[in-house]
Amino acid sequence: MVTEARDIDMLGYCRSQTGRHLMLVVRSPSEVINPLLFFLLVIILFPLGLGPDPQQLSVLAPGILWVVALLANLMICMRLFVDDFEDGSLEQLAMARIPLAVAVLPQLVASWLASGLLLSLISPLFGLMLGLPLSVAPVLVASLLMGTAIMLLLGAVGASLTVGVQRGGILLALLILPLYVPVLIAGTRALNEAVQGGDPTIALALLGAGVTSGLMLAPLAIAAGVRVSLEL
């Protein structure tokens, strides 16, 4: 049964691994549902605390939505590589004969589909609950689609570094929250412009630039982080 060294079909590998991670998400959905529930709860609580004045709420809504999305994302990043690290899957990932920077992508894609994409698509509903007009929904969804992707990529860099650390959650937050700040600023800026009838294009373009550069650079950093964690 010994065969020659096989070249691994990179696309096929990524597809199969994305399927694996999506399957795991479906099998234990709490990791996806918890951040979404958290998001929902906080959005419900804010009007109770701030008072039901729609005028005031809609002024604060962009900031609230984005901060909560950021925190929900942080929750997801804290779990990102933990299970795979503990059961040896991460080790096996490093043994796969494709570049580690590519091998870590499927998990990120699956995580984003199950968290960022879902959250962005539901966000207009949450926006309505905070008194945002439906007309800003496209900007809200677009900014969150890109913002969650950037935050997941950045968070994964931190997660790959802290996965071997016992209770690395706080360390992770300290590491990546400063990196989230520009994303937060650009995201709320886009939304504020849209609410006030201005032009959100610049902020959205900034987010787009963040996604593309993140997609290019973050996998390399994540791969390096995974190596560091595995060789502790």
């Binding site: 795991l24 040896g88 060789e231």
Partner: protein
């Protein structure tokens, strides 16, 4: 002389400030079966992991090996919420992406036919071990690096594994494994006692 599948020249392994092993010389060729032996903590797993290139920072010396490697560590990389069949099909090492028939055959070879679609979390420790070892019955790399493959296996399981080792060695592969127990692997078996390389 055939090309070595793995060659270690004067390899030393450090863990923190302590030198675990030094001066390890080993040449593994096709058809070899090597057992890394020694007391607990002598560095069997560390050496095996260094062979797998999973511990590059701590390893000094000259270490070269072929790329076609299968490594099975203590933790089996199995997901409890997936079935044995799915665990093998979607294995993160990506060494194999075989069809269902090949996987079912491999599972049958390790005595797990009938469990293909069971929940892996519900299997016993020995059965989980067998799922992990079923990878050896799929197209799976020339050089096998196995950490304590006999753990949790019953007598029949051990025998199946020994047969598989021999067959793999005969067909031009090589096996390196760590174990405390003596395995019945015939003349191909070489035992490397790591006590002789113990560091400071």
């Amino acid at each position: 002389m055939t090309a070595a599948l793995l060659e270690a020249r004067d390899v030393s392994i450090h863990k923190g400030l302590r030198q675990l092993l030094r001066g390890v010389n080993l040449r593994i060729e096709a058809g070899d079966i090597w057992q890394l032996a020694g007391k607990n903590g002598v560095g069997k797993t560390s050496l095996l992991r260094s062979f797998a290139r999973l511990a590059r920072i701590e390893v000094y010396g000259d270490l070269s090996r072929c790329d076609d490697v299968l490594y099975i560590g203590h933790s089996a990389a199995l997901k409890g919420s997936m079935s044995p069949r799915q665990n093998l099909k979607y294995h993160p090492s990506g060494l194999c992406n075989p069809d269902h028939e090949a996987i079912d055959e491999a599972l049958a070879s390790v005595g797990l036919s009938g469990y293909e679609n069971a929940l892996t979390a519900r299997l016993s420790a020995g059965q989980k071990r067998r799922v992990a070892l079923a990878r050896l019955f799929l197209p799976s790399g020339r050089l096998w690096l196995l950490d304590e493959p006999f753990t949790a296996l019953d007598v029949v399981g051990v025998e199946i594994l020994e047969q598989r080792f021999k067959a793999h060695a005969e067909s031009g592969g090589a096996v390196v494994f760590t174990s405390h127990q003596t395995a019945d692997l015939g003349a191909r078996l070489n035992v490397l006692d790591l006590e002789q390389f113990r560091g400071d």
